[in-house]
Symmetry: C2
Subunit: 333 residues, 2 copies
DNA sequence: CCTTCGCGTCGAAGCGCTTCGATGACCTGC
DNA sequence: GCAGGTCATCGAAGCGCTTCGACGCGAAGG
């Protein structure tokens, strides 16, 4: 069973090859009658354009690269949600997604761009001093970054507004009347790496707390139960008056609740807890956690949209910050 | 800056286009001198073959599709590890990976195959009665499945030997002298969906326990703390003599430990716990869990190898089962 | 009535690569 | 010294598609 080509369709419909092409791309007017005849033939023969040929002739592969970090300390469920939404959104624009891991590094980006395998790049988990950023500027390949490097000048970046997220948590706790609050963040290594989002959350939190005149405290937090337990214990020992706790560390969220239980603090009676995490985790915890969700889907969708706009040659804003949303559940009062 | 083509390289090296092609593919003998000259030109000009043109002419895109499920109840970290190892291994064979989500369904498979976007398919999380399987047979596109459908006849399937994994746990507990043991599995929905691996683990466990003359019990297990707590409590109430517990549910693993702690059972003094999960989770738990690891990386690597072999036209075994490995840590004695 | 225009369609020229058959140059052995 | 055989290289024919310019035709305009 030889594969069906555009020539087969043309013959079957009794038109020229170019006519079929124009029907399919809509780049020239075609009479309704002809269009219908062609479309029928396409369906009947089960025609699918050959991707390579199309890419070669049109210089558009209809594929974008998704560069995932896949390294320690990352938040897998969020990453996954994100990847899903990227794929889904890309498909809506009739594009496919090539998966790349960051360990191919800059060479990898160069390779896929130079070989015209992809039309654009989507980089996740961009760091403050990301070695890929300078290359990106050189390549002049359309790209969108998730996260912010130190100097976003001339790039297109999307992210949740983490500063606002941190602030939102502090606002919420302040509103409830708490006077002493703290934030438990990502593992130390994440800060050392200079990943922007973790720092920005802390900064937003501290700043908002200061504005409200609260006593606040923000520190990294490792992910094993024992370390979480130790950290929570230390915190409670040092700050007896502490009554509000923000957790921005998915893996640790459950452990924090466990540690509080063991340390004899009730949630929310003794300590109010607010998490920054996806909704499903917050809902599954017990008690269900008041949370600021990380809108991975929105970010993915938005990133793809921006990239598509760039592929069309449209101008797009340099930075897009997505507004966080607080959902109140059982863990805060 | 026009992009460099093979013709540019040919001119620069003073040879024919076909000679450059043969140097690069190694499909015909080329004198050492010429080869070197061509290679130098390639480097100097920074030449990267155009993927579309190559695909068109050679009928090989050097891209494989990775079809991920991305639905509820899946084990994200494992999935991620798996995806990483697939990408890495594929790159070793000079192939790239196109990411597809299962919700594109059979149409999606058909599309990428018919458009020659990819040379082969890697399907994850195959179910017993998977709607994609019949299509796969029709397509005659080289493919490898992770997991086993009801009838693997004529397909190529790879998976961890879950029956052995379950058995290994039972063996281990029997050896330690436990007489009453139980297995807490995946959420009920996973069994209802007919995902093979969960069932096979249970079967292997039960069978091995029977062989050792142990009293055994295997049940599904949800993933919220409350439900896990309830399930563990019920189990201990019903089976006071229970002293060995196997957990085959990543999300629940931590909660089981928490529940036992709350219910006043020490691990491993009162109850020995064995988990079936990736090593990092087992190590991070406290106490560190004796575990059978899910070798996601091996599975990914093996799957890609098999697919590449098929692309070369080689015959490959219908089914490949990867041997599980038990690592003894602190949670069992 | 003839020119002009726009619409719908066609033919052909590539896009950059692989691959097949052909062509020399050079060696071997009788 | 020449037929036969290698070895290295070349030229050209596609692969299946897009796109540009051209063309025929009926409608509109003078």
């Amino acid at each position: 069973m030889r594969t069906v080509t555009i020539a087969d369709v043309a013959k079957h419909a009794g038109v020229a090859v170019s006519t079929v092409s124009y029907v399919l791309s809509g780049k020239r007017a075609i009479s309704a009658a002809t269009r219908q005849r062609v479309l029928d033939s396409v369906r009947e023969l089960g025609y699918h354009p050959n991707a390579g040929a199309r890419a070669l002739a049109s210089k558009r592969a209809k594929v974008i690269a998704l560069v995932l970090p896949l390294r320690a300390g990352m938040n897998l469920p969020v990453l996954m949600q994100f990847a899903t939404s990227v794929v889904t959104t890309a498909r809506q624009y009739d594009h496919d997604v090539l998966l790349m891991t960051a360990d191919e590094g800059a060479d990898g980006l160069h390779r896929v761009a130079a070989s015209a395998l992809v039309d654009g790049l989507l980089l996740m988990d961009v760091e403050i001093h990301d070695p890929r950023v300078p290359l990106l500027r050189k390549l002049a390949e359309p790209s969108v970054l998730i996260g912010f490097p130190a100097d976003p000048e001339g790039l297109t970046c999307v992210d949740l507004d983490f500063a606002r997220a941190g602030a939102l948590c502090a606002d919420h706790l302040a509103e409830l009347g708490h006077r002493e609050i703290a934030l438990l963040g990502a593992p130390r290594v994440v800060y050392e790496r200079g990943t922007g989002f973790a720092e920005r959350t802390m900064a937003g939190f501290v700043e908002a707390a200061r504005r409200h005149g609260l006593q606040a405290d923000a520190r990294p937090c490792e992910e094993s139960f024992d370390e979480v337990h130790a950290a929570v214990k230390l915190l409670l020992d040092e700050r007896p008056g502490l009554s509000g706790l923000v957790v921005h560390n998915e893996a640790a969220t459950g452990h924090v609740l466990g540690a509080l239980r063991i340390l004899g603090r009730r949630v929310p009676e003794d300590v109010s807890v607010v998490a920054i995490c996806p909704d499903d985790i917050a809902e599954r915890a017990s008690p269900a956690l008041t949370s600021v969700l990380i809108p991975a889907e929105d970010v993915g969708r938005q990133a793809v949209r921006l990239l598509m706009a760039k592929l069309e040659g449209q101008a797009v804003p340099e930075s897009t910050l997505l507004e966080p949303r607080l959902t109140i559940r059982e863990s805060s009062r």
